[in-house]
């Protein structure tokens, strides 16, 4: 079974708080997700990544710091490339649904799936943007100064 099918198994429907008549992702999207939501999701799955001084960053996290030229030195004193990328590319999975939190977003299994999905699409996006580089991803609790489930990546 290919990777995405493994992540998007239809068993996930059993975790959904409300039952849908059809166990089909496409049906669900057609009936419950409007076009602006869908396009926004596409933006999340294929976000902007930026290369700066041989480091690759998730642009949303470093936009202001780049403008103010404050990426380096890292405020936590990290000098290692991996540590710097790992810190700046931190993405808090649990807090992502802050304003839209519901029963599903409080389910750790769902959040973990969400993380795996992001890894799948981000890896492809990174490969497209930086074909000569390879990346490692990590999903872990309480990374750096955050409390909860987080995702991060760095160059291998």
């Amino acid at each position: 079974m290919d990777e995405i099918k493994k992540i998007l198994s239809e068993n996930i429907f059993d975790w959904y708080p409300s039952n849908y008549p059809s166990k089909s992702f496409i049906d669900t999207a057609m009936n419950h997700v409007n076009i602006n939501d869908l396009i926004s999701v596409a933006g999340l799955l294929a976000p902007e990544f930026i290369e700066h001084e041989d480091h690759v960053f998730f642009k949303e996290n470093v936009k202001t710091l780049l403008e103010k030229k404050k990426i380096f030195p890292c405020p936590y004193g990290y000098k290692d490339k991996k540590e710097i990328e790992r810190y700046y590319n931190l993405f808090h999975l649990g807090e992502f649904f802050l304003a839209t939190q519901n029963e599903a977003s409080n389910d750790t299994r769902m959040l973990y799936k969400f993380g795996k999905l992001l890894i799948y699409f981000w890896r492809k996006r990174l490969k497209e943007l930086f074909p000569n580089k390879s990346f490692s991803f990590e999903i872990e609790y309480d990374l750096y100064d955050e409390h909860g489930l987080c995702l991060t990546f760095w160059q291998e």
Binding site: N61, K63, L65, G94, G148, L149
Partner: protein, 490 residues
């Protein structure tokens, strides 16, 4: 008669005992003065060895032989002076570099004598200075912890340090102990960095204290706090704003201000100034002039600029006064007879070429105040903090918040942080963070010991609230003020 005779006897006995006590010391001293020891002797003009000369001696000789003050005399029986040990020099440099001490700094460490170090470091940016200090702190930690590193470092030539030993009340003996040269030099550099930081902080503290004495009292303090906030906020915008608007912003600002000052009380004028300061254009002008004065003081260490700052801030807004300011070579002078507007026009003309130079200085000034705050040597009892990105925090905003004792349970994945709560309250999460709710009951800050996360709320046209994300939302990264942490009971 018998009693005085007994006293005389007692005195003699006491003298004898004292002589007995000092005899070996005198004997030992004589031996040393005769040059019978095989150590270097230090001239009696100084009691302790100057580490600066020790380093200089190393630099001149290319290796470490001993400490000294420049009056070192070599014993006749001593073997000839060894040749410079380039290998040790290179090894020291490699080791320092390998252990992440800045390369430029390594070179300066090994090539600039310690007495020049503070002056040398003062020419560098403040960020650089702090980075160096951090590197050195790491170096010492590494040095203490890493056995392999210590072994490698100890292979480098040893350097002699004299130690003064007290016998009785006099310092009469000096012994020498050997320590690895690498640690010795790094220690000197560390001391130099700390001294430099301390000097700058102290001079600015004095500057600010003098400013507060310019008979403006409470109003001046208030203005100063807001001014400090503006320093950092405006620093980055100065160049951009002036370039974008391509006009003499100071003139417009000054004209408005002078008009207002003529017709309304001082306190109200100050209120207007505060409002104006919050706009980028005004930030880039009003704050700029005052910051320049501070910057000049910091850069040159000239105490005279203190008066200029006080004069600008205190008198310029309220009454005409003869004043001369020298900004980066451009001079603007106002006589008692000239009008406020013409003064500001002169300032605007004169500062135009200096804008670029001062932009960097302003940033450093912001960092400086941030540092001072964290070190607890700030200007008076201010509650305003500025981080390295120019974000400001006024602790007085936290004073009126009500602490709720019941902790908020946040699940393990951190997904159910309550975004709404009791207005103007502080709650603790089960993860140990503090959530601050604003007057509308919306979460404003998530504070941990390492950072402050800001929730920026926006309202869509359809009236829906949403929270902004991104790099703007993390402030005070690894520099959360201690005072705030204490206030929030971390």
């Amino acid at each position: 008669m018998g009693k005085p005779a007994q006293q005389q006897e007692n005195i003699s006995l006491a003298r004898f005992k004292r002589a007995l006590f000092f005899a070996p010391i005198i004997f030992w001293s004589c031996i040393n003065l005769a040059g019978w020891d095989h150590e270097f002797r230090v001239s009696s003009s100084k009691n302790s060895v100057d580490p600066v000369s020790s380093l200089r001696s190393f630099m001149q000789e290319g290796h470490s032989t001993s400490g000294g003050t420049g009056h070192i005399q070599r014993d006749k029986h001593q073997s000839p002076r060894p040749k410079p040990d380039r290998k040790a020099y290179k090894t020291a440099l490699d080791l320092l570099t390998a252990y992440r001490i800045d390369t430029i700094f390594c070179l300066s460490l090994l090539n600039v004598s310690c007495d020049n170090m503070p002056a040398y470091l003062q020419t560098k940016s403040y960020d650089k200075l702090l980075a160096i200090r951090q590197s050195l702190e790491k170096f010492f930690k590494k040095y203490e912890a890493d056995k392999h590193f210590r072994k490698q470092a100890s292979k480098i030539k040893q350097v002699g340090i004299y130690k003064t030993i007290k016998i009785g009340k006099k310092k009469i003996w000096k012994s020498r102990k050997q320590i690895p040269a690498l640690k010795h030099y790094a220690n000197h550099a560390y001391q130099a960095v700390c001294t430099t930081i301390e000097n700058i902080a102290q001079s600015t503290k004095i500057l600010c204290r003098d400013f507060l004495k310019t008979s403006m009292g409470e109003t001046a303090q208030y203005f100063l706090r807001r001014f400090m906030m503006g320093v950092s906020q405006s620093g980055i915008d100065i160049q951009a704003t002036l370039n974008r608007e391509k006009r003499n912003g100071p003139c417009d600002f000054a004209r408005d201000l002078m008009q207002k000052a003529k017709t309304q009380p001082i306190r109200e004028t100050l209120g207007d100034v505060m409002q104006l300061l919050s706009r980028a254009t005004i930030n880039a002008t009003a704050v700029f002039v005052a910051v320049s004065a501070i910057a000049v003081t910091i850069e040159t260490g000239v105490a005279a600029a203190t008066g200029a700052l006080g004069a600008i801030a205190a008198q310029k807004f309220f009454e005409p006064l003869a004043l001369s300011i020298n900004l980066d070579g451009s001079v603007a002078v106002e006589s008692a007879a000239s009008s406020g507007v013409s003064f500001w026009q002169a300032i605007a003309t004169s500062i135009a070429p200096a804008v670029q130079a001062f932009t960097g200085v302003v940033e450093h000034t912001g960092n400086l105040f941030c540092l001072m705050e964290n070190r607890g040597v700030g200007y008076g009892d201010t509650n305003v903090f500025i981080d390295d990105l120019g974000n400001t925090l006024d602790l007085r905003d936290f004073e009126r918040l009500k602490k709720i004792d019941t902790p908020v349970k946040v699940n393990r994945s951190g997904s159910n942080v309550p975004i709404e709560g009791k207005p103007n309250s502080i709650v603790t999460t089960t993860g140990g963070h503090k959530l601050i709710y604003n007057s509308e009951g919306k979460v404003l800050y998530d504070i941990s010991e390492k950072r402050i996360k800001v929730y920026i709320w926006n309202k869509s046209t359809s009236g829906e609230w949403f929270v902004n994300r991104g790099s703007k939302t993390k402030i005070f990264r690894n520099q959360v003020p201690k005072k705030l942490l204490e206030m929030l009971e971390f």
